[in-house]
Subunit: 168 residues, 6 copies
């Protein structure tokens, strides 16, 4: 890494990581010299998988992509984490059916907190834009096939999750 | 019912069924040969009324409409329920002030899961489009008049509900 | 056609007809017993192709689809045309990136004019939802490839159109 | 106050009151003869501060503004509270990134309940439109600086709140 | 008029004035001491009726309403016209299906030009919110009934307009 | 420029260039190694200033910014121009009050035409997000002050433009 390298953060809860996330990761890597996938601990939001598992799932998923990216979990303010990692840009996926208002508001709050860190939006690809972790968990909870939305590895973790929930 | 008959599903939580739901039911009946009102058990969403009561309330409401519709409760995937009922189309009401993004996303997820089942949207009528079950429950909780939003039968159920809650 | 058959109108300018239109046509056919593709003369909107050519292009496109649909041009009020054709439903494609407000407003105006005719919306498929006739014409005007958006037949008409414009 | 005076209600949870709220309060005062800031008890929504503290914080904040406004807490229906206060108009702030659909729906429900009371929307100013109480509480929870969003007094209350939560 | 009276401007093209406009006018009168209906000359927008006729149509329509309002045409900047009339507030109707983005942008531009003049939005009533002058003109052009949208007087002007256009 | 340098295109009509455009230009420069400001000839859209003048105005505006950017006019497909310039990313400003749908649709069309070129969105800053060239031209046409929206140089060009229009 040289001093002028552009480091970007792609933050999320990744609960679990889906093909939609992977689409953004692959494309974000081309925009920066180094991509950090920030797995938010997110104490406010009850997550199905704990931070450690969400982080390891993300690591497994990007192994096969031949990209230069790290997976690092964080808690606390996103912009503070970005600063600690010497990142200059936060990258967010934006879906035509995404909560555009919320994303815009977040970008302004982060700008007020730390103006030197930019937020950029990558439009989700049309064939993954409808995928959301919450839909995937609900469909998996009902024992249905989620192979169009998440990888084999993530499918297995979802099966384990539901086994534990059903006390098997 | 002959083999070519078009069966449609109008799914919802109906917690409780409102004049807005009844508007869509009356109009949806004209679009298909047979309408099934699918009352979702919805384990994820805490409901004020249990599935049995929500189903019976819906049955009472459609009695007076002179339409050919059944009320059936279901749990699990909507598209699976639709397939079991030999339905070819899912009908959803869409309000100018509705969560358009969510409805679109659901239609794409359902298409990915079972492409042969279509989703169509009926624009809510202007004079019922603002009615939502959550507003009705909140106004009834405050002991106020909800006769512009739900039938006499449903009003009585709401009164009972609040009596039980207030331990009367 | 028997008296109870459900006739639907899919109206549009089709200037020219695209893969997005054809996606809606194929799916709309499954919702009604008979589909009429209504090509609007649209005196208010300057069209690149005249009504006759837009109508014949649409006819050619649906030939290969094995569907029961007619192509009829009309001028004047859409609901009046629908009534003349004994249609009970107007079918409109709706894109997550479409002018949702305009479509809603149109459905209410049509309802006020002729309440017995319903408007239903079919969510566009994700892989054709971004296609619009205006983008196709602009890309073709620049001499670029539009084969991902329109058929070979329509491509040829676009080439002729631009030849005439360029006085070749 | 004379009989023709126009009284307006600016209702909210104010959990806590932010610079965004104060911007609307200052501007709303110019639209009516008397402004009542209605602090909603809001039994449905878990609030960080109780009604008494939210009310006193609001009172402290408006002291320095030299405006003619009262702060009154209420529970029950907003339109009923407005009627009790002889108000003729409900004033709501509207942000380009606000839940426009929800606000519209509320205004129609209130109109159905009590047609004589109007709802008007004031567009939030661009430099406060992104401020929301929930962001402020989350940033304060992380021990970060919220001085760009809330006053010194409110910052102190947020510090106390987090001390109590952390059992200090 | 005493010095503290609140004067409001309700600006528009009113080409022609519809029941939707009249709904806002009646409700806006209750918010201010004096309402001025500002008919914009609008050199940029080709109008069907000239300024003089649009102004007289508006005057005729409000005669029967028993309200204290003037109709004044203006060209140039809206905020300048408002200042000349000693108005303190611009009132705009907002429809759930209206161009919300444009209205918001206009309110910010006007605020930058003349901060002392406020813009407030009145949510259109559900039964007139879908009415737009352009729909009315198109339906009238086709010789159809527009009595659900505009008054008898305006209907007659529309008939004259189309006669002139058709060279009768 | 070395082979791995990331080149970005910021395309627009810039008719004329405003403070909103300059905000995006300054921030976009930090995201790429080299920024090209692409002034679209735009034969479809009647522009107030011709391509040459729009290009020279943009050049003058960026002189004082101390950034590494070129201004190049282009006609034809945006993605083709981007490819000719060896750009890997198209940068677009996005305003909370912008035509989000149109921008999304454009990004998908461009992706279909040339998948290797990405589109990213930069959220406009809150204090320039409401500025649009069309508002600026309208206010200038009325002889009013536009100094909050455009530079001294652009103001002079607007004055000349209106002189020519008024035949002075």
């Amino acid at each position: 890494m040289n001093i002028n390298d552009k480091i970007g953060i792609y933050p999320g809860t990744f609960d679990p990581i889906t093909f939609g996330h992977l689409d953004i990761i692959k494309r974000a890597c081309k925009l920066v010299d180094k991509l950090i996938i920030g797995v938010a601990e997110n104490v406010n939001k009850h997550t199905a998988f704990d931070t450690k598992l969400r982080t390891s799932m993300a690591e497994n998923e990007i192994k096969g992509l031949g990209i230069d990216a790290d997976v690092i979990s964080f808690n606390g303010l996103l912009v503070k984490f970005a600063k600690e990692q010497n990142a200059s840009v936060i990258i967010r996926g934006l879906r035509a059916v995404s909560d555009f208002d919320y994303e815009f508001q977040m970008s302004w709050v982060n700008y007020k907190l730390l103006p030197e860190i930019e937020t950029i939006f990558l439009p989700a690809s049309e064939d993954t834009q409808f995928i959301s972790s919450s839909f995937v968990k609900e469909i998996a909870r009902l024992g249905e096939d989620v192979s169009k939305f998440v990888s084999k590895g993530v499918q297995n973790e979802l099966i384990n999750l539901n086994r534990i929930k059903n006390g098997e």
